[in-house]
Each structure stands twice: as structure tokens, then as C-alpha cells.
Amino acid sequence: VGALRRRERVITAGRPLDHAAMQEIRRVMELRHHKWDAQVGDVATLAPFPLLLRSTVWNELSALAQRLFHETLAVERELLERPELQARLGLPRPLRRLFAIGRPTPAAARVMRFDFHPTTDGWRISEVNSDVPGGFTEATHFTALMAEHASGARRPGDPTRAIVEALSRPLGRPATVALTNAPGHMEDHQVVAHLAAALRGAGLTTEIISLGQLQWRDGRAELPKGPVDAIVRFFQAEWLAPTPAARLLFVDGRTPVLNPGVAALSESKRLPLLWDDLHASLDTWRALLPETRSLADAPWASDDGWLIKSAYSNTGDTVSIRAALPPLEWARRSWSARLRPSQWVAQRRFSVVPVDNDDGPWHPCIGVYVVDAAAAGAYARVTRKAIIDYSARDAAVLIFDGP
């Protein structure tokens, strides 16, 4: 899978934008699209150059992501039928209880993002963002702004538009979509507001709500204004799980939800620990994911060839590499992992093939979105170091077949 030889140029860096053009893009991102971390110390986190993929490479990544999408759905279906495996995922107990007592609420649509790395051993993925994938701002707006400056290049898709189409297609008119996000998370609220505007553009009525506003009648969601035909849940499943108001979002509801609550099953970074116990075909996952073990079975504390991460870490903030962390921070995280080993996992690190630019090599990670089985866009993170961390930059991914 993904034949990628060392030094093979599957990704190239496009020409950097001049300072003034980049500043204007940054200003638009900061003021209109909620990009508030565009500067970290001396590092500007929006890369002034796009990453260019040949269409053949994009087709390969799309195909891999789509296969991963199907395999992930199959795993979720099987895990629902086998509750004895769910505890090993680190799935919060309230969610396990919910899945044990009811039938899953149907999906309005399904969105996942797979993070691909070009390595010396071919393409590798580090994880799937299955429950509440982020990065829409970068994949939609930043990519569009950068594409305006890249003659002959095209965007690999628009995940926002794909979501709107997937949501609105099965609904008749008139129809109402309710959107909800975790209170206080302004960036999530912006995503929700952005999706709501796009849905209204498609002729749907939208309501941005807190969960407490929903009334349920025979498993169907309602608002005082009338029935709700679909719900967008931009709210992490493990945060929602203890909330009584959320029960019908996960099980026994009849109003479809994006993403459905079962996404929490595949969101766990401990999923690979269950592979050998599953009947579902996982050929693409097995080919692309680095070796993953429980903490007890990996020399993560002494071998820098391993990293650790928690089962549920939506922003990747618990991905921990000893060599990349200050000693005190590494001690804190490894202590957390030792205290609750059933909530963590160890994964073998890989060696990323850098992209050469005029100012030196960059290590890329390309997040590919899949919406209802179809690849729907991408954006990248690039870093000078061998790991993607806080100092990584967001880079637009564009398709370019020119010379």
C-alpha cells in the first residue's frame, strides 16, 4: 500500500507568497475565520507556501482514506454487537451503558479525517479523527485563500460543502437542522455558525441550540418552533456522555445526527489493541498504522522509538514523546499514563520524508476528510522537526499537475 520510496517526491512545496499577501490572508483568517493562534512565540503558524500533490498522489490518498472509512464503519458495527470489548477501548462507562441499553441513533451523515504521513516506509496514518474532526477552517477557508495565489492549482475539495450536501440531500423541503456545540468553545461555535450559514444557503432552516432546548417526542427531536429533521453534534461524545439530555443523540433517537454517537467507538486511540479480536477486515488499517501496543507491552519509558497518547485526546494534546518534551512535562504525562494505563496507548514512531523548500526541509502530515464515503478535502501541518507539535504550521494542500 502506498509505495513511497525514500526521496521520492510525492509532495512538493509551492512558491511562498510575498509578505503582504500572506499578511492579508492571515488577517482574514484571524478576524473572520477564528484563527487565533497564528503566532506562537517567533513562529507564524500559517505556512506561506502550499503543499502541492500530483493528482495521482491525491487519488491514492483519497482511495486509502475511503477504504479506511469503510473499515472504520465495519469496526464500529462489530463493536456495538460486542460490548465486552468496549471497556478495553477506554470508552467512558456512561457511553458503554448507553450502547448496552439501546439501538444507535441513525447518522445524518458521517465525517472522518485521517492524518497521513509520508514516511521512509510509505504512507502511514497516526490516527483517525472520527468523532468531532476539526480543521474545517484551515481546510476550507485557508486553502481557498491560498489557491487564489497558486496559478494552475486546484483545491482537493471543500469539506464544508460536502457536509452541507450530505446533510441536505436526504431532507425534503422545508426542513430544520439543529446544530449544537460545547458551551463556551467559541471555535466550535464558529464552525457551527459557519455550517448553519452554509445549510441556510442550501435552503434549510437552521437553529443553533444548547442541548437543553431540545424536546423529544417518540424519539424525535423538537424545538418550540417545530420538529427537527437532523442534528449536527459538534460536541465531543465523551463530554456529552454523562448528560441526560444527550441520551437520544446516542441511542433510541429517531432524528438523525452528524456525527452519530457510535463514532466514539472508533475515536479511541486504543482501537488497534482490539484488532486481533475483531472479525472485520482491517487490511488498510493494518498496512498504514504503526505498531500499537498497550503500555505494559511496549518499552515506551526507555525507548525513544515509541510515543504514548491517551485514548481520547481530541486536539492531540496528549501525544507524548520523551525526547520532545521538557523533562518535567514528560514526567507529568508518564505519571498520568502509569496511573491509568487502561486510558493510554503506546505507538511506534516513524521517520517522515521531508518536503524540501527554499528555506530547508519540512515534515508534513496531511489530514484527508471523508464525508459519507467520499474524500472531501485536505489540509496539512508542517514542521521543521520530526514530530508535529505546537510549533507546527498549517499548510494548504493543493493539487497541481504542472511542471
Binding site: 499578511q23 503566532q39 506562537v40 468553545h185 441526560p244
Partner: protein, 266 residues
């Protein structure tokens, strides 16, 4: 004036320090705002804060300095304005008289029912925009902080938007970047207290380690600005601050602010 124009005044595309201007409050301004008349420069700023620095500069100036190639005043000085709310912005705007470029570092999200009320500060960003637009693009920076950032004026209780925040080293240019820009002195202006705020100390300590001479003054007292040596705080105090900081509500977008959740009924 629309918010993009206001932001452009504070963070011009060709400004040397524009990259560090925090966008959170600008992004939350109304689409169009009406600036009010800017209040006068605080009287203590000239006499107590700036004049001692200028005197020190004059005293150390070499006789060989070319009379027509002199640097603008304070060109080797970064300022940190750690004053409450809108006063920080007002002082920052006043500093353009000495060729200084104010850089807002406010990193909390505003809300109606918030622990830290940022609305007066946001209004002052609007009021001062036109004046700040006249500041030299490459002038020495004055980093603006809200001294109320860690405390606020409202109790932290369920339903309230907790937007208390701290400043971090990564909010500022590195000590090396400042040094390369010719910064050799840093003046901290704070409202009270003998020591810098706990979250600010690592920033100033890094500058001091690089060779930047630290100065300070209190806007509440009559003492003029003067150099000082920042000594490491007692470890217990640093530990307490680290624990307090871990309870602040940092969000994935790097800003501070979340609604305090209702306690679980279970």
C-alpha cells in the same frame, strides 16, 4: 470604522511587531464601531516613566554619536504595560509620542456574563486605533496586558463565562528576537506591587538572561522608573501559580474563556 480597519491600525501588514498582536478582541468587535474622543495622556507617564529612561540614554550617549543620525527616543527599549483594562490601552496609545508601537496581547474571549469584563478595553481599542495608526511601523514595542486578567470582577460560578487568563512566553517575541532588533532595556509599568505579575516573570527573566536591562515603575506611586534585578521567586510561590494556572480555561484555539459548567447531578 469597521473592525478590519481597526485591526489594520494596530497591526499594519508591514509592522515589525504586528505578528504578535492578539486578534481575539478585534475578531469580537462589532462589524462597525464608532470611536469616541481619546482621553488625555496620564500625567505620570512623561515625568515618572519616560523621562528617567531618556535621561539615562542621554547620560550614556557617546560623544562620537553623529548629531543628525541619532536614533528616535526609546529605540532600544521595549515596554510592558501591565495596567488594568482600558488604562493599558490608553497608556499604550500615548506612547506613540515617543515613537513606540503598542502591541495588544489580550488573549481572553469577551462575553456578556464574563468574569473579566473586556468591553471597556475593547471600546478603548476602537478609540485609540486612529492614533495608533500614526505610530512608526518599526518603533520599539510596548506590549499591552490587562492587569485584571487573572482575577476579574465577577465570581467564578456555574453559568458564568470564565475568561481569566495568563500571559505566556510564547505570547511575546523571543528574547533573541528582541535582542536582534536592538532592544537593550525593558520598562515594566504596572499599577501596584513591587514584583512583576507571576505569569510575567518568566518572560522578563528570559529577557534579563539575554542581557536586557529591566526597569520598572508603578503608576500608583510617585517613584520614577528605575532599573531592577529580577530574582527568582520562591519555589513554593511558583508552584502555587502553576497549580492556579492549571485551572484556567485554555481552549484549543489558544485563547482563554469557557462557560463554567453546572455541577453534575449524579
Amino acid at each position: 470604522v469597521n473592525r478590519e480597519e481597526i485591526h489594520r491600525c494596530w497591526a499594519p501588514a508591514d509592522g515589525r511587531w504586528s505578528a504578535w498582536v492578539k486578534p481575539v478582541l478585534f475578531a469580537n468587535l462589532d462589524e462597525d464601531s464608532e470611536p469616541r474622543l481619546l482621553t488625555p495622556t496620564p500625567e505620570w507617564l512623561r515625568g515618572a516613566a519616560i523621562e528617567p529612561l531618556l535621561s539615562a540614554s542621554r547620560a550614556s550617549a557617546t560623544a562620537e554619536a553623529h548629531p543628525y543620525r541619532g536614533q528616535p527616543p526609546l529605540s532600544d527599549t521595549a515596554l510592558v504595560i501591565d495596567l488594568p483594562g482600558e488604562l493599558s490601552v490608553r497608556v499604550g496609545a500615548a506612547l506613540i509620542e515617543w515613537g513606540v508601537r503598542p502591541i495588544p496581547l489580550f488573549n481572553a474571549v469577551p462575553a456578556f456574563l464574563a468574569v473579566v469584563d473586556l468591553r471597556p478595553l475593547m471600546a478603548m481599542l476602537v478609540d485609540a486605533a486612529e492614533r495608533v495608526a500614526r505610530a512608526p511601523r518599526s518603533g520599539p514595542p510596548a506590549f499591552l496586558l490587562d492587569a485584571n486578567r487573572e482575577s476579574g470582577s465577577r465570581l467564578v460560578r456555574p453559568g458564568v463565562f470564565d475568561n481569566r487568563s495568563v500571559c505566556r512566553e510564547s505570547d511575546f517575541p523571543s528574547a533573541e528576537t528582541l535582542w536582534q532588533a536592538g532592544i537593550r532595556r525593558a520598562l515594566l509599568i504596572q499599577s501596584a506591587g513591587d514584583r512583576p505579575a507571576t505569569d510575567l516573570e518568566p518572560v522578563l527573566a528570559a529577557w534579563q538572561r539575554r542581557g536586557v536591562q529591566l526597569w520598572k515603575m508603578s503608576s500608583g506611586g510617585n517613584a520614577p522608573s528605575a532599573p531592577f534585578l529580577l530574582e527568582r521567586r520562591w519555589w513554593g510561590r511558583r508552584m502555587i501559580h502553576a497549580i492556579r494556572r492549571s485551572f484556567l480555561r485554555l481552549r484549543p484555539d489558544d485563547a482563554y474563556g469557557m462557560t463554567v459548567p453546572e455541577p453534575s447531578a449524579g
